[in-house]
């Protein structure tokens, strides 16, 4: 891959992130609403409310005062304290980002692997019964509300002792790492399964369409003419080329990894970033929202950058 290609992509990412920083600030300060009222309980006399507002710097002009303090704070990694929880925002985000990545990551991995496999099988023989069933089932799964799937899973698997809430069994102290892993695995099983079911249709359909397209190309004819078995044709020639658009899809989906499971986090009480964002929006917890927004934006930019680079690795035509 040429240096120019790499540098160009990196520069593009940096510019995007700078624009996001400015937007991050503007959006949350422009929202109507008074975070001081959320911070203090009712019954506080107006004078104390005003004094608190002054002390938090919320009555200074937006630009330049508040903006300058925002930029300098972000540069030093100081995202302030959450209004709801009164702990540093960086700690809060770190605690909640991991579980979401675990849930969405494991579900996505499952969905991607199975989806690509099924999509390939379906696309290699379009129009046959396997293809029709795949397309139909994928569409149904894609359309089913994830929330509802979650409740059904709870009713079924809850009976067998699979925990229905949270990521860890309350009060359980694992005697060793394996038991701890087992506890997390038991809690992860249902939400990951449900999310994987919801995502697999997407990948299967995408891959299936790409394979059907690629199979119509000339070089497939050539490979068959050379005498390769059909499965070798598919696996060694069709799949690598059909993977390209799927890689882009994976990049896009991974970019929104943090918000990919919001409804599931609510149903299963999974302590993730999605549910944190929802509750922070409701209570106007600006420090958390600004930190989370920045995190998500940087993740999207990074994931798309990675997808671009992987694409460049896979497809020599793009490398410039």
């Amino acid at each position: 891959m040429s240096r120019g290609y790499l540098i160009g992509k990196l520069l593009h990412a940096l510019v995007t992130i700078s624009a996001i920083l400015v937007l991050n600030f503007a959006l949350f300060r422009i929202l109507p609403g008074d975070p001081v009222r959320t911070l203090l309980p009712r019954g506080i006399p107006a004078a104390q409310v005003a004094a608190t507002r002054t002390r938090l710097g919320l009555d200074e002009p937006l630009f330049p005062n508040q903006f300058v303090s925002y930029v300098s704070a972000t540069a030093t990694g100081d995202f302030g304290y959450s209004f709801q929880y009164r702990i540093p925002v960086t700690d809060l985000l770190a605690q909640r980002a991991g579980p979401t990545v675990l849930l969405v990551g494991s579900a996505s991995l499952l969905a991607i692997v199975i989806g690509i496999f099924i999509g390939t099988l379906a696309g290699a023989r379009p129009g046959r019964w396997f293809d029709n069933v795949t397309v139909g089932a994928s569409l149904v799964l894609y359309a089913l509300p994830v929330f509802w799937l979650g409740m059904i899973a709870i009713m079924i698997f809850g009976q067998f002792g699979f925990p229905v809430d949270g990521m860890l069994t309350p009060g359980f102290t694992a005697p060793d790492a394996l038991a701890g892993l087992g506890d997390i695995a038991a809690h992860l099983f249902m939400p990951a399964l449900v999310l994987a079911l919801a995502l697999v249709g997407q990948y299967a359909l995408f891959m299936r369409t790409a394979v059907v397209d690629v199979m119509a190309e000339d070089y497939i004819e050539t490979a068959r003419a050379k005498g390769l078995r059909e499965e070798q044709v598919v696996v060694r020639h069709a799949v690598p080329n059909a993977l390209l658009p799927t890689v882009t899809l994976i990049g896009i989906n991974l970019g929104v990894i943090f918000t990919g499971a919001i409804t599931l986090e609510d149903v299963f009480g999974w302590p993730g970033l999605g549910s944190l964002i929802v509750s922070s929006v409701a209570s106007r917890d600006y420090p958390v929202l600004e930190g989370a927004f920045l995190l998500i934006a940087v993740t999207v930019v990074a994931a798309n950058l990675a997808a671009d680079l992987v694409y460049g690795l896979l497809d020599p035509r793009v490398r410039g």
């Binding site: 494991s106 699979f162 925990p163």
Partner: protein, 658 residues
């Protein structure tokens, strides 16, 4: 040679991708394992001795372990398990001994003397003395004299209103002096804190209101109550260990876990399949099915909370804070007239609202005190505002309202241009603010809108955010009271003493503080001051009744309902669970401190056929067999896939050139 190089870089690429994926998944797994609970220093681990654990599911979040910062309902529940009050609430809702064993007051009512019980200890073993009580009260009082007063610990200020001095005269005696007799001294809901923990905490840290100083998290939670909070995992659960040295008797269980469920559906499932033992808020839609479920007992606790239709009736007075200095109230001026409010009271069908919005799980409202609180007054049939939209219409017509354009909605009198410049001559329409995420409020609001329309009053229904929009809309200090009608409620968590609700709802000094209707009536204020100073319970009860009657007939609320506290627990496994009040109350209530705690006597039912003395363990096991099944299953799947891939490669190795 080109083929070899090509396939090697392809393998390298695949290996790199696999490593990246593994890293993305293993890293959070690793941190999750690291964050997962380890035994706190000095506490027995869950396995030792087979601890008995009671698990409660709740759909209310808690916010902080620092009592000066924590203002959610669930926070008060935690406080009441972990701490004690000086004077606590007994099973009949009357004051009962807490940290103070006994008390007296001087004949003029200004000096109170409390005798502190002997031999009680903090969770860390230090003795509790009068110094701790004096310290706690003075810590709060002095916070308002610190710097500009903006770090004042306001949550407990009202409980100590009028207190001028608190001193520990010896190790077992506290003397408290007020400037006027105060009937609420025995109802101070102030958790007594250990001086040796809190004396070095600055007000910036304690109030959590500073930009630069980290808020104090109070992680050690050293208190004196029957349970000691030892572990908190935010938005997941809190874990308490029983305080076996508790002065009111050791709890029968060893461990208490309160688990948060963001959605009530899984919570009910968890109760049914035994993963939890008790639910604190049963949704109205599930109550009937749980009541019929075998092995589960449901509780319909006496209501302490209240929901109302509020009417903004602010009449600006000099000295009251307002956002826009040159303007008056931005609410509809007709709501400041008692006669108009009384007409509107007749258009509220409380019975229909309770039946439709709450499925019958509430009592139709009248007084601002709930039926579960002492001193509750209810109107006689002659006084009560019966549902009669026709009467509303005729009462408004008497005041000069006429339906001049024939559209069914009465029009504001044309000659009232001075009184109502914006609305004179036009249709009489009032805004009705409904809080988001409160489906029962929305149903109630629609019923109100339809009935008002029938009566000739237009309603502009708007769904809004509770905080900060609705709060600001009702404050003259924030928006010049830019609101007309709204649905809101009071939780009743202040305690059974009527003073707090009576004052906060309708007393003039609470405008732009606790009040939302901005009601002001000198007669009501005088009665409030009177009952506040009446230490004789009989005399005080008379004044309290008069206040409720006055506000019911002339005030700014149509109290809609008092919701039952719906709860459930596994009675096939547990016994000894009490309620507060003892008769028809609720379990796990934030009003139950110390020896009156509803879970103090909770214990497992003996298993049928078990030999005497056999201990039963309900210590939490980590996911049990399910976790092992998942891990083993995962290994099998990976093994099969890897095996198939290897076999496939072997088979396709010899091939024609590529």
């Amino acid at each position: 040679m080109a083929t070899l190089a090509h396939s090697r870089s392809r393998h390298g690429f695949i290996a790199a991708v696999a490593l990246a994926i593994a890293a993305i998944l293993v890293a959070p797994l690793g941190t999750a394992l690291a964050d997962s609970p380890s035994p706190t220093a000095g506490s027995p681990s869950a396995e030792a001795g087979g601890g008995i654990t009671l698990r409660i599911g709740t759909s209310q979040k808690w916010s902080s372990l620092n009592p000066f910062v924590a203002l959610l309902g669930a926070d008060y529940q935690i406080t009441s398990l972990n701490y004690d009050l000086l004077v606590e609430i007994g099973p009949d809702l009357n004051p009962a001994p807490g940290i103070a064993e006994s008390w007296t007051h001087s004949p003029d009512g200004l000096t109170w003397t409390f005798k502190i019980r002997q031999g009680a200890t903090w969770h860390d073993g230090q003795p509790i003395t009068a110094d701790d009580v004096a310290f706690t009260y003075n810590y709060i009082l002095d916070s308002f004299k610190y710097k500009d007063g903006s770090f004042g610990l306001s949550l407990f200020r009202d409980y100590l209103a009028g207190v001028t001095s608190v001193k520990a005269t010896d190790a077992q005696t506290v003397v408290l002096i007020t400037d006027k007799p105060s009937a609420t001294i025995l109802s101070a809901g102030v958790p007594i804190l250990p001086q040796h923990v809190w004396k070095d905490i600055s007000y910036e840290a304690a109030s959590g209101a500073s930009k630069d100083v980290k808020p104090f998290d109070n992680a050690s939670m050293i208190g004196s109550g029957p349970f000691h909070l030892v572990q908190e995992v935010k938005d997941q659960y809190v874990r308490f260990e029983a305080n076996k040295d508790f002065w009111g008797g050791a709890p029968k269980i060893d461990q208490l876990i309160v688990q948060y469920f963001p959605d009530p559906g899984p919570m009910v499932e968890a109760l049914k399949n035994g993963q939890i033992d008790m639910i604190d808020q049963v949704p109205t839609t599930e109550f009937a099915s749980l009541a019929n479920a075998p092995g589960i007992t449901t509780i319909k606790g006496a209501p302490v909370a209240m929901a109302e239709l509020g009417m903004n009736s602010w009449v600006p007075q000099p000295g009251q804070a307002r956002a826009h200095a040159n303007e008056g109230s931005l609410g509809n001026p007709w709501l400041t007239k008692v006669a108009v409010r009384q007409a509107l009271f007749h258009a509220v069908d409380k019975t229909a609202i309770v039946k439709t919005a709450l499925l019958g799980y509430a009592v139709p409202g009248d007084s601002i005190l709930s039926p579960g609180s002492p001193g509750y007054w209810s109107p006689s049939p002659q006084q009560a505002f019966d549902f009669d939209p026709a009467k509303t219409r005729s009462m408004l017509e008497t005041l000069g309202f006429q339906d001049t354009d024939g559209n069914g909605i009465l029009n504001v009198p044309v000659d009232a241009k001075a009184f109502d410049p914006k609305g004179a001559g036009k249709d009489f329409v009032l805004r009705l603010y409904i809080r988001k995420n409160q489906p029962q409020d929305l149903t109630a609001g629609e019923i109100i809108r339809d009935a008002f329309k029938q009566a000739g009053v237009g309603i502009d229904l708007q769904v809004v955010e509770e905080s900060p929009f609705l709060a600001n809309a009702t404050f003259p200090s924030a928006t010049n009271a830019d609101a007309d009608l709204y649905l809101w409620g009071w939780t009743g968590a202040f305690g059974p003493d009527p003073d707090f609700t009576l004052g906060r709802v309708a007393e003039t000094s609470q405008i732009s503080a606790w009040q939302d209707a901005n009601y002001s009536n000198p007669e009501y204020d005088a009665l409030y001051a009177q009952q506040h100073a009446q230490l004789d319970p009989t005399q005080r009860a008379v004044t309290v009744q008069k206040m409720q009657e006055l506000f019911y007939t002339e005030g700014s609320y149509a109290v809609l309902w008092y919701p039952y506290r719906l709860q459930a627990y596994r009675s096939d496994r547990w016994q000894g669970i009490k309620t507060l009040p003892a008769d028809g109350g609720a379990v796990f209530t934030s009003l139950a401190y110390g020896p009156y705690d509803t879970l103090l006597a909770a214990e497992l039912k003996p298993a049928p056929g078990a030999s005497a003395g056999a201990t039963q363990s309900t210590a939490p096991t980590g996911g049990g067999g399910a976790g092992t099944i998942v891990l083993v299953g995962l290994l099998i799947v990976v093994g099969v896939v890897a095996g198939a891939a290897i076999l496939y490669r072997r088979r396709s190795r010899p091939e024609l050139g590529d």
